[in-house]
Homo-oligomer: 218 residues x 2
DNA sequence: GTAAGTTTGTTAAAAAGTTAACAACGCAAA
DNA sequence: TTTGCGTTGTTAACTTTTTAACAAACTTAC
């Protein structure tokens, strides 16, 4: 009980990294490894070994001296912290290229997180099934979200339609929204929002590439 | 000269936000507005007005008291800071759904950043043109990157192929890589890397939705 | 023309996140 | 043995980022 409460206060960045650690660990497990050192995890994630050890300290996991961390146990523990007990269900709004891309990458790999519905305005897509996910008309959003008990919506519609799509999700009682479009949206306080915009990242990258270039010119 | 040097030391987060401010400002300009208050920008980006003012202070832009910031001027200034003088050219590795999605969202809107080539292994795609971007076979990567003077590569291939794709880009002399796959890659020191993974964000969102749920249950 | 209200620009404080430092431990080699 | 090395766990220092506080300046209302 006390331990559960502690996880509430994990730093946001640690939560992100735990998800990443787990992904890396799953790959290592596949490769037949049973233990891993902090510096190995660190190298994969482009961070320092200290940071890895600190994160693991925060979640109360102990490794073995000179042997590293037990991969299987660590995956298990990370799951206990970041996964939900019940399945968390997700809807994708807009089954264009980006929606499809997400379904592809996601592809039933997460055990406690599952995309169960897609919505689109294109009549040709309605009724089709892509990667096991059926496509519904947006008008049915309220009905499907209630029926399937969907708590997260991913917005992958064209940028201009992001706000109205967000509005629909909010009205339907969604708990969290992941917005992949470059158009920022507004949500009420009780909806958790994650804006995840591709263009910002690219422009930032371009800035630092330019900077490096300019330095080399001197 | 001195002013240019100062921009080198802008906080990373400020660079990100400048890109976002500009995007929001462009929309406001389209809507016919000429000035904007810090709290308006803040609201759009889900941050505080202080943060906006602080960022603008750092880039040395002054607004008008009780009138706000001149949108056109501010867009101009942000461009001077984050854009490169010459066009920065970008290649997309993998023209699947995600590659297409990026081309769609990007779509020639950035004036100083341009996607000029796509690469794929699928023979059916080679030679086609999507959104004005021609698709080449990966074997020609070195040739095209040299010829077009491409400095940034975006990786949108299937996750398993991310590392080998990164290797090809690096060998071809790329300066910056944006990796959209969930598989982390390794780059030498002089290549700027941005990992931009969709699954981490979704898992983080799920965690905070779960947390909110658990709290409500009590 | 004076008071009240807004908004900017800036400095200072606080919070969040990262890195450094190092004790503790245990294995391996001499 | 005992010495040296590699690794963990943890505290403390540092850096980055955000937030608070407030003076200055302009506008409007009275």
């Amino acid at each position: 009980m006390d331990a559960i409460h502690a996880f509430e206060h994990l730093p946001h960045k640690t939560i992100e990294r735990l998800s990443q650690y787990r992904r890396a660990l799953l790959i290592c497990l596949e490769e037949g490894k049973s233990h891993i050192f902090s510096h190995e995890i660190a190298r994969i994630q482009h961070i320092t070994p200290v940071q890895v050890r600190r994160d693991l300290m925060l979640i109360g996991y102990s490794g073995t001296l000179r042997k590293g961390y037990n991969i299987e146990q660590l995956i298990e523990l990370i799951g206990e912290i970041i996964d939900s007990e019940e399945m968390i269900k997700v809807a994708v709004m807009g089954l264009g290229d980006l929606g499809h891309a997400i379904l592809n990458y996601f592809n039933g790999k997460r055990s406690k997180l599952s995309i169960v519905a897609g919505f689109d305005v294109n009549p040709k897509k309605i009724g089709t099934v892509f990667n096991g996910v059926p496509c519904y008309p947006v008008e049915q959003i309220q009905e499907i979200i209630n029926r399937e008990n969907i708590s997260i919506g991913i917005i992958t519609v064209p940028a201009k339609q992001a706000p109205v799509t967000a509005g629909r999700l909010i009205k339907a009682g969604i708990k969290g929204i992941l917005n992949y479009t470059p158009t920022p949206i507004q949500v009420p306080e009780d909806v958790y929002l994650e804006e995840y915009d591709m263009i910002t990242t690219l422009e930032k990258l371009a800035f630092y590439v330019k900077l490096a270039n300019d330095k080399n010119k001197l």
